[in-house]
Amino acid sequence: MSRISKPEELMKINYRPPKTGWMDTPVEFRRGTWLYAAKPKSLEVLELPNPREWSPEEEDWKLPENWKEILLQGLKERLERFRSLKLFLDICVRCGACADKCHFFLGSGDPKNMPVLRAELLRSIYRRDFTTTGKILGKLVGARDLTVEVVKEWYYYFYQCTECRRCSLYCPFGIDTAEITMLGRELLGLLGCYPDWTVASAANCYRVGNHVGIEPHAFRDMVEFCVDEIENITGIRVEPTFNRKGAEILFIAPSGDVFADPGIYTFMGYLMLFHEIGLDYTLSTYASEGGNFGLFTSHEVMKRLNAKMYAEAKRLGVKWILGGECGHMWRVIHQYMDTMNGPADFLEEPVSPITGTKFENAKSTKMVHICEFTADLIRHGKLNLDPSRNDHLIVTFHDSCNPSRAMGFFEEPRYILKNVCRNFYEMPENTIKENTFCCGSGAGLNADENFEMRMRGGFPRANAVRYVHQKYGVNLLACICAIDRAALPALMDYWVPGVAVAGVHELLGNALVMKGEKERTTTLRGEPLEGKGKREGEMEPGKDDA
């Protein structure tokens, strides 16, 4: 026996986690890692079942008496309705190709965040109750009984998935765990188990028109505030209109751009651009939200919120809709709108009134992404840009999950960025474009109480930013999503201090030379514009190093 005891013995603590199988490792609701329960009034607004006061931390979740029956019936209906669900549950061969691709697994180290295990949470119940082998062989073939513990586990892990679809990229069968999460959440919803953050936002949007729950006059007031700020900076008073019938275009942005910092600067960029090109557009105080938290709630709620934008376009008699820098709004438009509420036959196929470009990709939805619209303007030489006004910034671009993986939208924002700033560097290839890492706060996870979990999930993204920050001195992370603009600043503050976050149109607003403007002395953020021009060691305009 050695004279010195082993440190592990001395500490009398067990460093190694227990080696229980995933089915036998129950969920522990530790604060900072889960979402508060939805308030009854939000469920009532959306006519969702089982409104009640409850908390995931408590033993009793106050489920309906026949909860099991409800869940199994719900699963049965969805298996019949969504062929993809049945397919995804049947064909996984557990090859593990997706296992290490989820940012939540990478950041948390929790194996149940491997996409294959996340799906297995639902698949094990499917096997038990809907397949013959599962009914007979049970655990031997990965089947298990539906218990209250399983419901809790679903709530914990289906809200640790940002529905980002990174995993599906690597699956040889194209199994999309995001879809499984969506349906898992829907099933939980049948029991009234929703988080407050998503349902309160969806209820606000349904009732008032936006997630924040800001009434029309306050919305208008905030836009006026932007107008004042723009005037201070440029000397030009832009004049947006509200609910104006007969306008050519209805512009809808995510509401985060109107109320939150730093989204508001992006909003100022939009207004400046529209003024400069003389766009005939209107804002709506009724459709004052581009985002759609219904996507994170249920197919029905998503449909209802999406319908609102089109109803407003119809009421105002516009020709088509222009949409702001948002993530999941575009997932809904691009992947669901057409079969859900479309085709929007009462609108016209979008054509840029400035360049004449037909946006054929938006033929059916009649809704154009602002980055496509702006990139087209730049391409046709319609904008006078002075990128040196962004010389204080060394920029990289974060591809938001939804525009990149749900739309294949990579080049337009980059094209704009390279025209409005002179220092641009890409992050490593396996962390951008279709391989992009999620911000860790999407799909309704960006609530305050979930902060630690978000820091875990966002770590792989932050780690790539850290690399370009150290290597090239990157100090600005540009993005085209309002949730990113809300979530990434905190992520950067924790993991990569010294990197700010901005929308692409904020940088455009800085660079846009407006007719009749006074000499700019500050950026849209009010930061002084010091000595323009090229600094030592910097690259040539428009050149991309990556």
Partner: protein
């Protein structure tokens, strides 16, 4: 051979053992992944552990100041401070260096190249590093709370500025911070 020489010569082995022990504080499937995946962006935690442990060990060996050790310690503790660890487990990975030293040096002691007293002395130096880990942990947790508060403020930041502007006619500097 003197202890410092052994610790220098055996650096790769000791760090590898330490890394292995630290990685084993994660569930087995995760540990396997952290060990195997070498791409720094595909395996950010594994990469941070590698960089951090190596930096801490080298600094420890040279007896550098805490300030110089700090970034390496921060690289690891910042991650463990938000993962599913209790505070003691989040920082206890430092003590596993003792275990790594013992495992690696036991044969040397048996051969009489290194004495038990030497090893005990090395252990006491590890304790100093352990204390730094506590400081870093506390700092990270503090930052988390500060950032949370800032984030909540930013969410409706512009509404507040607007309201205050209406009341006082100006944007107060404290509203824009």
């Amino acid at each position: 051979m003197k202890l410092p020489q052994v610790l220098t010569d055996r650096k790769p082995e000791i760090i590898a053992r330490w890394f292995h022990l630290v990685v084993s504080t994660y569930p087995p499937d995760t540990a396997k992944f952290l060990l195997q995946e070498k791409d720094p962006f595909a395996n950010p935690v594994g990469q941070a552990l590698r960089e951090g442990l190596e930096g801490i060990y080298e600094g420890w060996l040279k007896g550098v100041s805490e300030k110089e050790l700090y970034p390496y310690m921060d690289r690891i503790v910042r991650i463990r401070a938000v993962q599913d660890f209790s505070p003691s487990k989040a920082v206890g990975f430092v003590l596993l260096l003792k275990e790594a030293l013992r495992q690696e040096l036991e044969p040397e002691i048996k051969k009489g190249h290194v004495s038990w007293e030497d090893l005990e002395y090395a252990y006491s130096l590890v304790d100093r590093v352990q204390l730094l880990a506590f400081d870093v942990y506390a700092k990270c947790r503090e930052e988390l709370y500060e950032i949370r508060v800032k984030e909540i403020k930013n969410r409706v930041q512009k509404l507040w500025e607007r309201v205050n502007k209406e009341i006082t006619g100006e944007v107060r500097p404290e509203d824009t911070q």
